[in-house]
Symmetry: C2
Subunit: 347 residues, 2 copies
DNA sequence: AACTCCTACGTCAACGTTGACGTAACCAAG
DNA sequence: CTTGGTTACGTCAACGTTGACGTAGGAGTT
């Protein structure tokens, strides 16, 4: 039997003390050299650097941030709904990219739209003394978020506004872009435009629905309640709902699908019934290969990297002490015509 | 002008000392209560808990891990190529999920396939004293990885093996699945099967190419050099290469596309030339909506969550002191027939 | 020559926490 | 009543680092 194994039995991580001993200086001098602070002569600097290299010294940021006056960990937390969702992932990527350019690393977690889990993750981040957090809030109450915010942690919400005050957020033009998309369909002559939306608890779903209503009103088209289907969480539910729409006596001639999985579900039904060249579709949220389908899917595309960058900018500015009033940044979305949104009604 | 603003001017984070003072006990007793260690009476425990709650005390994990003997940060680092790539994101998600169940958080970073950046990220992780790392290695030399590994940091490589020894890795059945896919095409009667691959520097590309060669050999089909196109980094290059193949005197009747963007590029060309119903295609790596195209794309699907889970399992086990010999775990991929791979040659 | 000022160091304590160890009180057994 | 053991605490120092401050020596000024 081997002795129960620590990975490196005897070797300890070298510390400033070790470097100092080897270079025959005080630890404070090593600190100065490592941090590039003035007050170390060239000869001593070289000696310290050489010692650090031979020992393989690596600064310990946790000890450093414990002692430092600013108490920074150079780390921010990012909580998303599900990192395996490309939307969340692209957002994370943008945040991470922007953060890295400020020497800040990202602690990432998925809250799975569960506020209990979100609360736990928030505690974990808090225990690690992150300098700030970017959060795609889980549904349900935001008490944990509010509590954390009130402790003074810089916080930015993405894709939904806070239910409490004093906090920045970044969203896209959900309502306006939805209104424009619906108005566009109406302008082509459509009078029976269905709305297919995700869970109604989501702020974005509500906004997009409001935009739909406004778009119809703006075009002078009456809203038909039976053409509105919500709470379609996932492509399967969207399929069922779409199928039902085409069993109506007066089926829709156009669909406004307010989320990308909903769009995909709807398209499946249209293709199965060979309606995809006759029923117009505009979807909210772009998705890969939307241009490869037949017809290409016209979508409202969010500027995901832009949203992430903005969120990171905000939280980093707050960490740097920016105390200006809270901001609700709106990153505009753009309509990308690909064919499916340009289909005219049969008449 | 306001005074240049710290976020909370006067308030300090409460510490164990504050809690101890309020509860009229020593800090050590607070430590025992917070960590659920024995040696605290019920009455004292209640008093400490109450004090902690009123002060809003949060344990400081960085101070704790500095003092603790095991020196754990309960944090692992994850370096991927580009988190905005769904493959990387799904992998991150799986790792994160598994880690969370052990109370471990994930520090994420994208190395953008640049080993200088990878080196910097590794230093950042090291400075934060992560307990281990999961890495999708950037191309080029792996010196920085090896160095970090030799310091004793538990490490698992994903999607490619290490160029140095003593390190775990997790990959999929690149060679075997490629061989089977090509053999499958040959079994349908195809004799002119093209290979379209990503950058040759990638280990996965090499393996998949080897599988292609083996598949042909196994079926007794001669390899035609002009049907092999590699270094197709991105869909655009794949399009060009595919177009060239169909300018050959004897064009291929089937394509084996060894990466998902390559598959998409190839499909674009086939559709543009109306060959998509006549030329067979099997792609390596699944992608969203592959089933929605016409025909659906037959793919070799990697078990991405399985790979991530396995990688996390390995690194967490090493952190827990597992000193068994290094493992090269292979998570099997599966063929998903959807139509494009079942097309038979014309004559 | 005495003075200031600056540079290049060093010394010390503290950041928030916990391991090692000490101690007082109590109970049970001899 | 002592002895030994257990329980419930407390005391102290240390983890690796840096802020505050001290000091020795040299250069420049009067």
């Amino acid at each position: 039997m081997e002795p129960t194994g620590r990975r490196e039995p005897t070797m300890r991580e070298p510390t400033m003390r070790d470097v100092a001993a080897l270079a025959n200086v005080s630890t404070k001098t090593v600190s100065r050299v490592i941090n590039g602070l003035p007050g170390a002569g060239t000869e001593v600097t070289d000696r310290v650097r050489a010692a650090a290299r031979t020992l393989g010294y690596r600064p310990n940021l946790t000890a450093s941030s414990l002692r430092r006056s600013d108490r920074r960990s150079a780390t921010i937390g990012v909580l998303f709904e599900d990192l395996s969702n490309p939307f969340d992932a692209a957002l994370l990527r943008a945040v991470e990219d922007r953060a890295r350019h400020s020497g800040v690393l990202v602690l990432a977690g998925s809250n799975e739209d569960d506020h209990t889990l979100q609360r736990e993750l928030l505690l974990s981040l808090s225990a690690r003394r992150v300098d700030g957090v970017v959060v795609m809030a889980a549904g349900g109450h935001q008490d944990a978020l509010q509590h954390e915010r009130e402790r003074g942690t810089p916080m930015v919400l993405v894709d939904r506004p806070p239910t409490f005050g004093g906090t920045d957020c970044v969203t896209t033009t959900n309502r306006e872009s939805s209104r424009d998309a619906v108005a566009r369909l109406a302008a082509l002559g459509h009078r029976d435009i269905a709305f297919l939306g995700d869970r109604r608890t989501l702020w974005t779903s509500q906004e997009r629905y409001t935009g739909y209503v406004e778009g119809l009103a703006q075009a002078g088209v009456a809203l038909r309640g039976e053409l509105v289907r919500t709470d379609l969480h996932g492509a399967d539910l969207a399929e069922t709902a779409t199928a039902e729409l085409f069993c109506l006596e007066r089926p829709p001639t156009a669909l406004f699908t307010a989320q990308n999985l909903v769009t995909v579900g709807a398209m499946r039904v249209l293709r199965a019934r060979d309606l995809h060249r006759r029923v117009a579709v505009i979807g909210f949220d772009d998705f890969p290969l939307a241009d490869m389908l037949d017809p290409g899917i016209t979508v409202v595309r969010q500027d995901v990297p832009g949203i992430g960058r903005k969120a990171a900018d905000l939280v980093l500015a707050r960490i740097d002490g920016d105390t200006s009033p809270p901001v609700h940044a709106v990153v505009p979305a753009a309509l990308v015509p690909r064919g499916s949104g340009e289909i005219v009604p049969l008449s």
